[in-house]
Symmetry: C2
């Protein structure tokens, strides 16, 4: 049996759920009036559809969202030895500035304790990506938390969305944070949450016609692709050449579009190298993909996985599940989740059943990169 590490697996600590319960705007938790009905979690603005009664809005929150025993049961069921848990979206992005630092420290301490408790008693092991207080009044507070995380023994990086300080990831105000991540050799797990404007999909009516498919299947990966392309175009990887970024969902669509992005940069008349007046990136997309970028293998198909391997290399691809999201709709005890099975099968297929390559993607790469043993 190969050693399996799940680097894309979320948790909402009880303290975080309590905070969401006290809120009435997205993100929030609503407790239905019907006895025994599970609480509803409304995390996407597309979930908060006023035409749907509150008691049925969003998604049911079962124990798998916060109970670490549910995580351990999921790990055993799927042969996962180590999970690197992260707070799920939208993290702490929405907090009032004066609340951000306290909550970041509290959540990250909770995660570290959760890992410590499990690792003492269980054969399965946990590590964590921390959350950042991005809405704090100054970037120094974020830098302070990046540095503090190095003192927590089970933290192995940080998770972040694409809004940064509110203006995207090419905002130069983020430079102190990139600098701190680079200097502390901290891996950043970049994860989508905000999707695309409704009009990109033809408006809210079109979106609702297909449930959550358009925002989840397309909005999420396109958001990630745009965010990391803006980082590239804004010169973040030129200024911070040692940044390490793990991209959710195999990079959104970055591996597929890397060639087109590079071609458009090379053909942009307004970039300095081409005689223009705009700076433009100094390093190629391919160089960044092979130096700074890691990809999870959460892409649900051989086609996507082959592009990911060709773009970043098989030593930079890491297995993940996205648990507790995408549970089976008709959940049977002890059944393997189809969403996970699809990713396992894609890994088998993409590497023609080569045992060494498969073992690297399932766990070897993560163990090496995240110093897990």
């Amino acid at each position: 049996m190969p050693f399996i590490v799940d680097i894309h697996t979320h948790v909402y600590p009880q303290s975080y759920l309590g905070m969401l319960r006290a809120r009435k705007t997205v993100p929030y938790i609503h407790d239905p009036s019907t006895p025994d009905a599970p609480p509803r979690l409304i995390i996407l603005s597309s979930d908060d559809d006023p035409s749907i009664p509150l008691d049925r809005r969003g998604r049911p929150v079962d124990s798998s969202y916060s109970d670490i025993n549910a995580k351990l049961e999921f790990m055993r069921r799927h042969g996962i030895n180590v999970s690197v848990i992260s707070l799920a979206n939208p993290w702490l992005d929405f907090l009032e500035p004066d609340q951000a630092r306290t909550w970041a420290e509290r959540i990250n301490d909770d995660l570290d304790v959760m890992c410590a408790n499990v690792n003492k008693e269980s054969k399965e092991k946990l590590f964590a990506f921390g959350a950042l207080p991005l809405s704090a009044p100054s970037a120094d507070i974020v830098v302070g938390e990046v540095e503090r995380l190095k003192t927590l023994p089970h933290l192995r990086g940080v998770i972040m969305g694409t809004s940064g300080l509110g203006s995207g990831l090419d905002d130069e105000k983020l430079d102190p944070i990139w600098n701190a991540l680079q200097n502390t050799d901290t891996l950043l797990f970049l994860h989508p949450h905000y999707g695309l404007p409704d009009e990109a999909f033809g408006g809210a009516d079109t979106i609702n016609r297909y449930g959550h498919v358009l925002p989840l299947a397309l909005g999420f990966p396109l958001e990630t692709t745009i965010a990391v392309t803006r980082m590239l175009l804004g010169g973040v990887f030129d200024r911070f050449p040692m940044l390490k970024i793990l991209l959710a969902h195999s990079g959104g669509t970055l591996p597929f579009l890397a060639g087109r992005i590079e071609s458009c940069i090379q053909h942009e008349r307004r970039f300095v190298g081409n005689g223009g007046d705009l700076p433009g990136p100094q390093r190629s997309v391919w160089d960044v993909l092979n130096t700074n970028i890691y990809l999870d293998a959460v892409v649900y198909g051989t086609a996507g996985l082959k592009a990911a391997v060709a773009a970043s290399g098989k030593d930079r691809l890491l297995f993940g599940t996205d648990h507790p999201f995408f549970p089976p709709l008709d959940c049977k005890e002890k059944e393997v989740w189809p969403s996970v099975a699809t990713n396992y099968e894609a890994i088998q297929d993409a590497f023609d059943a080569d045992a060494n390559d498969i073992a690297a993607v399932l766990g070897g790469n993560a163990a090496r990169i995240l110093k897990i043993n």
Copy 2:
């Protein structure tokens, strides 16, 4: 030397350029006051930036946009035997309803004559994809043109954008047109033009900061992906299982995202198959990719091409150039265009220099599918 067919190559007939010259809103052509300065073509709303003087707005239109001799010179320079020319975006989408039919017939007749004249005298051969009068007052007029195109000897399909009749490609009012395309066995070349809303990229200031890169490198392929996913979700491929659609830029990002799209459909609680109240598609993404979809090989990299092959199969992938777009910025006589060289190299790489596979993608597939010989 392999037989090479370019299926993604655009032309603006003189009649079309004349029509654009008479316009003052996008799309339009502006003739600078400076003598000898080339006319400027403003086709994207992002090109029409009022902060840029009209004389420098958009892109220069040289003879390669309309002069068929420039196309033939480009073909010889790149070893291309056959070009299947198509009107470039935004086609006839913007016409007043009462103008649509006349212009469609005129443009398509022009294209057919252009092909006939070249094929009589040149070793290089031309065929064409026709344009559709989508803004016409009734779908019957569009159906009539689809049928009329079968009587023009050099027409091999039609090209269409993603707006359809103005409400996207999942609009049921398009059914008579899908029906006509299916019944006449007409290939539809689906091509982007409208991109994404500015806010998807962080607003107009962010877009302008990077020239045309964000709308061209990301907006275009994401638009195609959204359009074809809406067709799938809206059941177009269920109702018209014999439709043949060639997707520009290797499907936008469809091959990469196909797995995630299929997984999101399988996990959508609101679809009938999963106990919900919404119809949802009956056929899988993979089935549609292998039955209805063809992909061009205009993806500028091995990573994207491998995903395309894995998704649709190597017998459904067709070489293209996107000429006259992406010309070398420093154009030397007789030089191979870097944009074309990148695509040639990606095809060599993706098939490990297998001569049969490469010949199929470069021309064999197109010859078989489009009945070109």
